[in-house]
């Protein structure tokens, strides 16, 4: 009797094991994992929710497991997931970090998929950045230009207009920085420059001044071009702004946007994502947007969508369905109305978008201005080393501020170090 029971248990266990193995491919396709840092972001988070909803409606039986990972921990989390052999099937990455994943062969080449589906990517804004080693590793989700949010009431109180160049910018931020309650501490600032939140964020802020001075990190062939008079001028401008006291110090990006939305800052230059935050703040009635005082504006690629290469064919087909929905004319149109951002699709119908996004034409203008100037936040030739490069630049610029170094010396140091990083 004991042996009968043992045999029964063994048979049951074996059956369970086999049925589990047999069911594995089917059950794997029941759920697709999608990790993103944008889940709770106003506007774009709602857009993602709509893409997911449409996908699930079109593919009954398949659900999307949508998980939020904070931006600060995003690259490490994704690296760990991929290295551990458990990648999310739907891959969402920043455009400055996808290169390392593509270089490791973790992203599916999308060229055959687009060819089979007869989808052309001609005219898709910023799509060239998604080409890695001659293959399409991803789809560009956002190619943007920076805008400037400003507090009309603060500027009007000083009889000022929004600045249109660097000199006017300095004048405006000087006159609008004030100690309103007389406690000896400024509580209203002319602008807010983000210096906390990581090297990538630091470089993006610095790039406003570098580009306006006519400098670039590298040229179109990937040669480092940091030891130039234009770069020295850009660094000098950055030093002037930080040392002026017209910006609060040690501010992270979220805090900076919040300060503008709360009416404690006269103006802030930022990406299209600034507007939804401004619109929900207590000072919303006084806040307006216009083109930034820097020319060309900072802009370029933001984030990309791809497919993990080490998943089953069935899962790949489903992920491509998801990508197609995100790229569909309907969802691209909603990228403007729901996410308040410029859709990369050249055929997106944006008629009537101004009703929901009044500054939409401004977004188009700054996007085109950045594109026409060939601006991108990721320097050509340093894509894979971007993490190390951005940290090096941030540290050398911090050293310039702390030790009051000559920008010319700093530019020369950065040139040498960037070349060393590029050379491996």
């Amino acid at each position: 009797m004991k042996y009968d029971l043992g045999k029964k248990i063994a048979a049951l266990a074996l059956t369970g094991l086999l049925s589990g193995v047999a069911a594995a491919p089917a059950s794997a396709a029941d759920t697709l994992k999608f990790v993103s840092w944008q889940k709770d972001e106003g506007g774009v988070g709602e857009w993602w929710a709509e893409v997911i909803s449409k996908f699930e409606a079109a593919n009954p039986g398949t659900t999307i497991e949508w998980t939020k990972v904070e931006r600060g921990a995003y690259a490490d989390t994704m690296t760990t997931l991929f290295a551990g052999g458990q990648p999310p099937q739907i891959v969402h990455l920043a455009s400055f970090e996808y290169q390392n994943f593509a270089e490791n062969g973790w992203l599916e080449n999308l060229d055959p998929w687009f060819a089979d589906a007869g989808i052309s990517l001609d005219g898709w804004a910023g799509q060239q950045i998604c080409t890695w080693n001659g293959e399409t590793a991803c789809v560009m989700l956002l190619y943007f230009g920076f805008i400037m949010g400003y507090n009309e009431a603060i500027l009007a109180a000083e009889g000022l207009e929004p600045p249109t160049d660097f000199d006017e910018f300095m004048n405006v931020i000087e006159k609008t920085t004030k100690d309103l309650n007389g406690d000896g501490i400024n509580d209203q600032f002319g602008t807010v420059v983000v210096t906390r939140g990581g090297p990538g964020q630091y470089l993006t802020e610095l790039l406003n001044f570098v580009l306006d001075a006519g400098a670039r990190w590298t040229d179109s062939d990937g040669n480092v071009t940091m030891n130039t008079p234009e770069m020295i001028e850009g660094l000098a401008r950055w030093k002037a702004v930080i040392n002026s006291g017209f910006t609060p110090r040690d501010i992270a990006s979220g805090e900076g946007r919040r300060l503008l939305a709360d009416g404690k800052v006269a103006l802030k230059v930022d990406g299209p994502w600034l507007y939804p935050i401004m619109a929900r703040g207590p000072a919303a009635a006084d806040l307006k947007v216009t083109k930034p005082p820097f020319n060309p504006p900072v802009g370029g690629s933001s984030n990309v969508l791809g497919m993990a290469s080490e998943i089953s064919d069935e899962e790949k087909a489903l992920v491509f369905e998801f990508i197609k929905i995100a790229m569909s004319p309907e969802m691209q149109s909603k990228y403007a109305t729901v996410a308040n951002s410029t859709p990369p699709s050249p055929t997106a119908d944006v008629t009537g978008v101004e009703e929901k996004t009044p500054h939409f034409q401004l977004l188009i203008q700054t996007q085109q201005a950045a594109a026409a100037a060939g601006v991108d936040r990721i320097p050509t030739g340093l894509e894979v080393q971007y993490g190390e490069f951005s940290k090096m630049v941030m540290e050398e610029v911090e050293r310039m501020l702390i030790e009051d170094l000559d920008p010319a010396d700093v530019a020369a140091t950065m040139q040498a170090k960037a070349e060393a990083i590029q050379g491996g």
Partner: protein, 308 residues
Amino acid sequence: MAIPRSQSGTTWFGLARPSRRHWLGYILLAPAVILVAVIIIYPLVVSVDLSFQKVGIARLDVARKPFTLANYEKLFLSPEFWKSCWITLKLVVTVTLLSMIVGLATALLVNNQFRGRTMARLFVALPWAVPEVIAVVIFSRFLDSSFGLINWLFITLGVTDELWGWFSDPTLAFWSIVMTMVWKGYPFISIMVLAGLQSIPVDFYNAAKVDGAGVWQRFRYITVPVLMPVLGVVTILVMLWVFRDFAIIKVLTDGGPIKSTQTLAILTYDQAFGFFNFGYASAVGVITLLICFIASYLMLGRQTKSMY
């Protein structure tokens, strides 16, 4: 539940036989040992192995790269590594010393009889209960260079007439981390020392008083020697905590500015997840482990002698 028996009547594996009775101990220990091996020893072995390879992003499902000492050569020739060692040492010594002083002082305080002692003990232990990241956020707000409470207090009290850049000045950034770590770490010392203090018989102090010993002499010749075993163990635990702590530094300063707060833990993280140099990061990790091991061994050895 009945133990299955063979036909001869002995238990399975012959555990009842005197020569095999010790097997039971091994069998009972096995799950714990296997668990430890899987979650500690295996990653450790992988790390050591990776440190001898030139690896970008580590993967376990690809062939091993050729053996090389390049990571260690680069490490020992790198000024950044030695600077991180120096910062780690500075931080370990400063935080451990200050935490010990504050922890010992608060333990001595709440060991006395006074009204509200229970509440005082609660307040002393409170920082220990606060999650590390929450503590960092609190200090981050206090020390905010433009809107923080500390700068406002300093200006209001006339300590300074300008805002201090707590996270943009290398010296202040270091002390920001020290303050946060001491605040977070001293309650552990306080609780442990308090337990030690309560185990000291009152007779010792009474006898010392009869012999004319003052407060300082009683502290120096009774309290400290009896507490030494506790203080020794606590010192090692606090040192190891400071040595490997990551969250406080990462959230507060991220190792900056200009690497002034970059400890070995931050260096390891940056190399692995910032620059995707897993081989080099593993080499830093292995050296960190060796330093921790040697420091613990020396401290434990010294402590054992001082106890008796």
